[in-house]
Symmetry: C2
Subunit: 299 residues, 2 copies
């Protein structure tokens, strides 16, 4: 029999992911901060619960995917959080946080959970709305390896590339690597398109020359065409990416290293937010880099 | 009958490319600054000529692929250069420079050539030693479109993705876009690996999680594994990449724009050269970024 899942968070990613589990026959309870957002899943057979504690009381596994580390803290440590449920009343023995969040928070939730008989996995994902929809996410997992193997069938419903990365926090660290790589890759893509525009080339024909070779990247293939169409709709929100880069930079500070590309990317993305683009897709970096390239040349 | 080709430059790229044409039956003469480097091709049936002028006198098409813009100038404008051959004695009516060089030099060679009945194409390539070896290069072409069509069969022997990008210099501008994109992508890759190392992850397992998703790139797939093996052998020389970034930044200055990612990449790559790594492959950026990340944190 499939374990029952208490699902928390029904945003762009969470809703698609929860639906995959529902359609695979996993019994599911739902709690989410904005109840209206849970309705499509309730219609598909999920049951509403009033808070994370109630979910933990009645389900085998908790899965959370929300916005920010403070949301994660509220879900687990809050007054009605998962950890507020006395161990003897709690059916749930495994909790999986799939939010991109602080590695140190993941490590401390793992510790706190262990003391109460709850095995906590950090399992952030990469692959965006499309990966969530077609179940092809990359899932990067930290925590107890034994627990990872127990819930592997759940991960296999949600993702295509599933890797155990090590002790608690390692999933989050791996996601930070992912975001660090993307940060400067986005700068390169935007600067290349700006150069193409300014030098009088046809950027669409340029992309045909450069996308398949040594300059090629997921960003160039998937986001550059959106930029050329002026389509800044979010696959991944600017404000969430800035949150991720902030976490990565805080971790770098803790580790005693400075990453100049990541620092530059965060500054450029903050300019996107300052000009009101926090809810745009990450490809909106183009406009900020474009303005910046002109502003600096005037100074 | 296939046109005869006067080939100039037998470096890492040039030798493989010339051999493809030879084995397709193109009659070939060769000149190169270091005669010993031409020997393998002479054994394969090419004929030695004493300078670019002599090549131009006896061949239908000149193709050059050398190191730096000043080498290109010497080949075309030098005392024994292609343009020193009087038009009435010159069999050659088309010259193709495949060196990555200055767009403005390409435009002026096009002008000078036109006045003497020589149609000049700029046609730099991307795809590295591997692309040259297996004939899968991306070729980005600027100049007269009519000339491009005339020599298309030659390009098809050398490359897989062949695009006419516009007026003289447009091939070089497209290559600058390519290099600008790569520059920051390389920073992102190196910083991601540094983060992975410092946070105690196993970088090889991390690559399995991140290479196939939104952080994916040609660099990550092809160069990150070399970095992890400590293999800094050149697919593409650091010193050539720095030359390309210098050209791109000079063009940016001319166009009145500043690209911060490209500027940062050039600084970081200059640190590689300063520590003696000019003849290493571009993946040697890793060591420079790694040192820099520690140095800055001490200051």
């Amino acid at each position: 029999m499939k374990p029952s899942v208490g699902w928390i968070g029904t945003g762009v990613m969470g809703e698609s992911m929860a639906r995959h589990l529902l359609s695979e026959g996993y019994p599911m309870g739902i709690y989410t901060r904005t109840p209206a957002k849970a309705e499509p899943l309730l219609k598909d057979g999920a049951e509403w619960f009033e808070n994370p504690r109630a979910l933990a009381r009645h389900h085998d596994v908790i899965i959370s995917i929300v916005g920010y580390p403070h949301d994660v803290e509220e879900i687990y440590r809050g007054e009605s959080g998962v950890l507020s449920c006395p161990a003897e009343e709690r059916q749930c023995q495994i909790a999986i946080d799939m939010t991109t969040s602080r590695p140190s928070l993941a490590a401390s939730l793992y510790q706190e959970g262990s003391q109460q008989g709850l095995s906590f996995l950090d399992a952030p994902v990469s692959g965006g709305d499309v990966g969530a929809k077609n179940g092809s996410l990359s899932i990067m997992v930290g925590g107890a390896e034994e627990t990872f193997h127990k819930v592997a069938p759940i991960f296999e419903v949600l993702g295509g590339q599933i890797k155990f990365q090590g002790a608690a926090g390692s999933g989050q660290h791996t996601k930070m690597v992912n975001q660090t790589i993307i940060a400067s890759t986005m700068i390169g893509m935007c600067e290349g398109l700006i150069y193409a525009n300014r030098s009088g080339l046809n950027p669409e024909v340029v992309l045909e020359s450069v996308s398949g070779g040594a300059a090629g990247s997921w960003s160039l293939t998937n986001l550059a065409p959106r930029i050329l169409r002026g389509d800044m709709d979010p696959g991944f929100f600017v404000e969430h990416f800035v949150k991720d880069m902030e976490i990565a930079l805080q971790e770098c500070e803790r580790m005693g290293i400075q990453l100049q590309g990541l620092t530059l990317a965060k500054e450029l993305y903050e300019a996107v937010i300052q000009s009101g683009g926090g809810k745009l897709g990450t490809q909106a970096l183009f406009d900020a880099v474009d303005s910046m390239s002109r502003r600096d040349s005037v100074e």
